[in-house]
Structures are given as C-alpha cells and as structure tokens.
C-alpha cells in the first residue's frame, strides 16, 4: 500500500494514463493505417494496393490537382494575409487587438456553416460555383490561420531593428525586405503549415463549393475508405497523405500548431 502511495506521489507517473491512452488511440491507429495499406481484405501481405495507386490515373491526377489547389490557396492566403498582419502589427491605430480578434473570430465558427454561407453568397451574387468558388471558399476558411501566426511574430518583433535600418539609410522598401520579412519568417512558416495541411486534406469544402464537380484528394480517400472492400486501397491513399503531412511538418516549424492552440 505504502509503495502504491509512493508511486502516485511521484508526479511523473501521473502522465501514464495519458501516455497509455495516446499509444492506444493515436500511435496504434497510425500504425494500423500502414498495416491496412500493406494487406488485402483477408489480411494477407500484399503490395498490390500500392501498385494500384501508381497505375490509377484518376487517383494520381486528383492528388496532383489537390496539391496544386493547396499550394495556390496557401499562396493566396499568404499574399492577402501578410499585408493584413503587417498593417495590424505596425499600425498605430487605437484598436489593433480588437481588429486581430475580429479576424480570428470566424475561425471559431463551424467551417461547414461558413462554407455553406459562402455557397449562398455566390448564389446570391449570381456567380457560378466552380474552381473560383473553391479557391475563394478555401481562402476564406483558412485566411485567419495565416494572419494569426504572422501577426504574432510581427507584433513580438523588435521595432528598434527597423528604426536602426532606416537610420542607416535603408529606404522603407529595403528595410521591409531586409529586416521585417526575414524576422517574420517563423510566423510565415507556421502560417503556411497551418493553411497547407488542412487544405491538402480537405474533403467536405470542395464538395459543397463545387456541387461535387471538383474532387479533391480528401474526398477520394473518403470514398474509398467508406467502401468496405476498398478499405485497404483507401488506407494507401491515406498513407500518401500522411507522408505529405509529415514532409510539411518537417519543413515547417514544429510547434506551428501550438501557436494556433494558444489562441485563447
């Protein structure tokens, strides 16, 4: 009994239930994705599903198209979001905090509802749904994720560095490119990761914004994984996505999501 008390009074052990839980519900499932990808329906080892992916032109095309859309969306978000974050972080108006908050608020509203609202807006304005609507909707959904980290890094930036650059004779433009942009790169990286990863794996948004006329990789995975006899092939597709995600998170800041997590 006293030994038990000793174990529990050592606070290190308090994380054990969590570690156990995570091992069971995070690590094991991820391993299972690989296992399913490497087996057939009867559970025998096979590479057939991988071979199928590389010869399945629809899957490859959808995959490349999704990548393109994701890159494009990330780029648009960056181009739109950086100036906004910059303005908010540097402007000397009275309510930058409120402004930043207003930009983040849509993030906390169900993204499906926002997407449906976008569809309705397009209908109301008489604009056709399609690729344009898809990009608008994606950008609309993920722009806050780009603005927030950039705003954070810019706000924490030491402004005396900019002043120093200007004192040393740099023009506004020069000091922006040579001082501000390099200093804000961590924020830009985490913004890119936070926009790119959900965009490349999105599945419901594309369906709603294009009346299912454009299929993204996420929808393809969903189609296969919910069909019982194609489940293993779906696992292969998920694995492909997982690899992309892994690569992105290595490229980006490791605690990219932590910044998003610290929103409250």
């Amino acid at each position: 009994m006293s030994k038990l008390v000793q174990i529990f009074s050592s606070r290190r052990t308090w994380a054990w239930p969590y570690v156990l839980f995570m091992a069971l519900f995070v690590i094991l499932p991820l391993i299972l994705v690989g296992v399913y990808a490497l087996t057939d329906i009867d559970g025998h080892f096979t590479l057939h599903n991988f071979a199928k992916f590389f010869t399945h032109s629809e899957a490859i095309q959808t995959f490349l198209y999704s990548l393109m859309i994701a890159v494009l969306n990330t780029l648009i978000c960056l181009l739109l979001g950086y100036p906004a974050a910059y303005i908010m972080a540097t402007a000397d108006f009275r309510t930058p905090k409120v402004m930043a908050m207003l930009f983040i608020l849509p993030m906390w509203i169900n993204f499906l509802l926002r997407t449906v609202a976008t569809v309705e807006l397009f209908n109301m304005c008489g604009l056709p749904l399609g690729e344009g609507a898809l990009l608008f909707g994606l950008c609309y959904d993920y722009l806050p994720f780009m603005i927030y980290p950039i705003y954070n890094t810019l706000q924490k930036m030491d402004t005396s560095l900019v002043e120093a650059a200007q004192d040393l004779g740099a023009s506004r433009w020069q000091s922006f490119w040579k001082v501000i942009v390099p200093l804000s790169m961590p924020g830009v990286y985490s913004g890119i990761v936070m926009v790119f990863m959900p965009t490349v794996s999105t599945f419901a948004i594309a369906e709603l914004l294009t009346h299912n006329n454009i299929k993204l990789f996420g929808s393809l995975i969903q189609d296969y994984i919910t069909t019982t006899d194609l489940l293993n092939y779906g696992a292969v597709l998920s694995l492909v996505l997982l690899i992309i995600i892994g690569l992105t998170s290595f490229f980006g800041d490791h605690d990219a999501k932590e910044e998003g997590g610290g929103l409250v």
């Binding site: 290190r12 519900f25 906004a84 608020l105 849509p106 008489g126 299912n212 994984i225 489940l231």
Partner: protein, 453 residues
C-alpha cells in the same frame, strides 16, 4: 498617371454596372425558389396556373400554388433525350435513366459519369431543361443585380469623394509657401498610406464577414431558401427554441452538446494530470511525451478520423456515441495539456512537496495546492476543448458509424449535400456567433485585467 487612375476607376464602375444589368435575369441556380406562372403547358395540368418551383441539387420540385400535391402522373418532357429523360413523378421533375443510380449524380456531378458521350448528354439535358423552364414559364426573376449596382455605386461614391478632397486640398495648397507645401505633401503621403492600409483591412474584413452576415441577416426571415427575404420575423428562433425544427436538427444539437461536454470534461482531467506528469519528467521522457502530444495536433482531422476508424474496425467496436467521444478526447487533450503547462511553470514547484511534508495526502495536496493554481489553465483548456469538439467535422464523420448519430457538423454536411440548409440552422448559427463573440470579448477583458495586475 492620375488620368489613368480615373479611367481605370470609371471603367471598373461601368463594368460592375454592366455586370449588374446582365444579372437581372432568370436565376435557375440550385436553391432557387419562386412563384412561377406557367405560360404554356409546362406540365400540362399546370397550364395557366401559378406553381412554385424550387430547384434543388437533385430535382426541380413543382408544387401548385393551392398546395395540392400532384400525384403519380408521368410526363415525358423531353422525348428527344434518348438516355436521360426528364419526367414528372409526383410533385417533382426528375431526370432518370435505366441505371437508376445515375439520377442523383446527374446534375450534381457530370464528371462522375464515366462515359464521355453520356456525360455530354446529361449536361445537355440539364441545359435543355433550363432553357425550357426559362422560355415556357415566367420564373420569378430573382434579380441579383442590385448587389453589384450597390458595389458600383459605392465605388463611384468613393472615387468622387476622393477627387473632391484632392481638388480642395490643391486649392488650399496654392496659397502656401514651398516649405509648407512640402510639409503638407509629406503629411498627405503618410495619411494616404494610413487610409490605404485601413481600407485594405476593412475590405478584407467585409469579405470575411459577408457570408456570416448573410446568414445572420436571413435568420430574421421565414423563407426556406436563403436569399429570399419574406419579411422580418422571429419565427425561426421560435421554432428553434420550441423544438419545432427538424427532428434531425434537434437530436444533432443535443448530441453535439453531450459529446462536447463529455469530451471536454474527460480531456481536461486527463490533460491536467498529463501536464503535471509531463512537467515533472526528466528531459528525455519529456521530449518523447511532448512529441506524442503534438502528433494529434499536427495530424489533419481526416487522418485522425481515418486512423481511428481503422482501429475501431480492426477491434470490432461498434461505432457510435462512445467512439465519437473517444475520438474527441484524442484531439482535444493535447490542447488542454498545452494550456495547463504554462500555469505549472509559473507556480512554485515546492509548494506541493511542502504540502506532502506537512502531512497532506497526494490527493489533498492536489486538491488544495495544485488545483487553485492550475484552475485558470484548466478552464481555458476546457473552453478550447469545447469549441474544438463542437467545431469538429472530419473526425466525427469517420467515427460516428452508421447508426444515425449526427452532430451539428455532420448534420450540416448531409443537409447541404441534399441541397438546402434547414432554415433553423440560421438562427442557431447567429446565436453561436454571438456566444463566440461574447466569449472572446470576455477572455480579452480578462487578459487585459491580468496584464494590469
């Protein structure tokens, strides 16, 4: 340069206005409804009558104005469409084919039809039907042009105001000394920059909030379809609160709340304990556990959902409320851990030991020493978990099983796929928006007060 700007501005205004003009037209988009007077025998029985047309993803629904259902009469509208024919069955117009499955996808997804010729024919059938409706009925003109006219007007007004200000300034400038002129010029440049950046922010804000505002505004009218203003009313709110709304919506709301509460409570408890444990670990262990903690945050929800789905399939769990709750705890807990950790590093690590030395049991020490210190972190973790859980779609979608369990997100998804949005979702959405706004303001005020302390 200035002349070019003026020309650009004016041509943009003209373009918008012209676009607005072209938008005053029939609008046969999905989701359109309106009263229609049948000019010719559209369906024969309706000639000369007024009917309501509602265009959904899968079907054109036609209901006579007197509301009597039109039962089981089969009419071929287009005999010249050999494969995809459009007919009236019951009170709906369908396109159908021998492969009955294609019917659903016909208008929603031409691309899903593999055969190219068939696809073209399907698309043509749709077009023919559309033009048929346009020429044979007077579909209620839902003019969307006014929005664009408003844009054009606003743009023009802004341009005129700017020009007037500029001219006035120029006049004032003429009677100044060169030095004063230069100072004024500089002042104006910085002012222009300020106005430009502010305008950019506000423009972005308007675009970001336009869809949200649209839903919020249309929560105060009764019409089934968004975009049709049928007078101010609180009916939808009343429906929502009296439970008169769609049964699916009611159960979805209840499930969402129940799941969010269970997930938030579980993940707060688990996460707080984990954070305390993590904080007291040695560096290497700590690294491993933090990595483990970050995995669910890095994983996009579709991967989390699919991997859990595979786990439940492999273990033979029947999917339902329990699996959804587990899944939500999985992706909520890391955020709780992260919001409790900073609190831990702020508190004096020796107080807990001191409590033990003074004879408290670990449970007592936890309750009386740790909890009061960790409380704010736990609370923000709890709130974060709640919002994450309510907001989640991807994970829920894959773990909810096929037992009819729907949360708000999945309900919206299936609802939107069917073509329309249950009207009561609009007031619900507005309320959520307001609550979120209130919570954010509250947190902001709290943070500010803490900073002042």
């Amino acid at each position: 340069m200035r002349r070019l700007l003026v020309i650009c501005h004016l041509s943009l205004v003209v373009c918008l206005a012209a676009f607005a003009q072209s938008q005053v037209n029939y609008n046969l988009r999905v989701g359109t409804t309106g009263e229609v007077k049948v000019l010719q025998n559209f369906p024969e029985t309706y000639a000369g009558e007024k009917v309501n047309v509602s265009i959904q993803h899968s079907a054109f629904t036609i209901v006579p104005a007197d509301g009597l259902p039109y039962l089981e009469q089969l009419d071929y509208v287009f005999a010249d469409q050999p494969v995809y024919e459009l007919g009236i069955w019951g009170d709906s117009i369908y396109s159908y084919t021998d492969e009955s499955e294609v019917r659903w996808t016909l208008w929603r997804n031409h691309r899903e039809i593999k055969n190219r010729a068939q696809r073209v024919r399907a698309a043509n059938a749709y077009k023919t039907f559309e033009s048929y409706v346009r020429t044979h009925t007077s579909v209620a003109k839902r003019s969307t042009g006014w929005i664009w006219l408003v844009f054009a007007g606003m743009l023009l007004a802004a341009g005129i105001v700017y020009a007037v200000v500029l001219i006035l300034q120029r006049r004032k400038e003429k009677c100044l000394t060169p030095v004063e002129q230069e100072m004024l010029r500089r002042k104006r440049v910085s002012l222009r920059r300020h106005i430009g950046s502010q305008a950019y922010l506000w423009l972005l804000m308007v675009v970001l909030y336009a869809p949200i505002a649209l839903i919020a505004v249309f929560s105060f009218t009764e019409s089934k379809i968004l975009g049709n203003w049928t007078g101010f009313s609180f009916q939808l709110y009343a429906n929502l609160f009296s439970g008169k709304a769609d049964a699916g919506l009611n159960s979805a709301i209840i499930y969402t709340v129940v799941i969010a509460l269970i997930a938030a409570v579980c993940s707060t408890l688990l996460g707080t304990l984990a954070a305390i444990g993590l904080y007291n670990m040695r560096a290497r262990q700590r690294k491993i556990v933090s990595f483990l903690n970050s995995v669910p945050m890095i994983n996009p929800d579709i991967i989390t959902g699919i991997s859990l789905f595979l786990l439940f399939v492999a273990l033979g769990f029947s999917q339902g409320l329990a699996t959804v709750c587990i899944a939500h705890v999985v992706f909520c807990t890391p955020y709780v851990v992260l919001s409790v950790l900073p609190r831990l590093s702020r508190m004096n690590p020796n107080t807990y030991e001191a409590a033990l030395d003074l004879g408290a049991t670990p449970a007592q020490a936890l309750r009386m020493v740790m909890l009061p210190e960790l409380w704010p972190g736990m609370l923000s973790g709890f709130i974060l978990a709640l919002t994450l859980s309510v907001d989640d779609f991807g994970v829920t979608f894959f773990t909810k099983g096929s037992g009819g369990l729907e949360t708000l997100s999945t309900f919206i998804y299936s609802d939107a796929r069917k073509g329309g949005l249950t009207p009561e979702l609009r007031p619900l959405f507005t309320i959520i928006l307001m609550v979120m706004l209130a919570v954010l303001i509250y947190i902001n005020i709290r943070n500010k007060k803490q900073e002042e302390k």
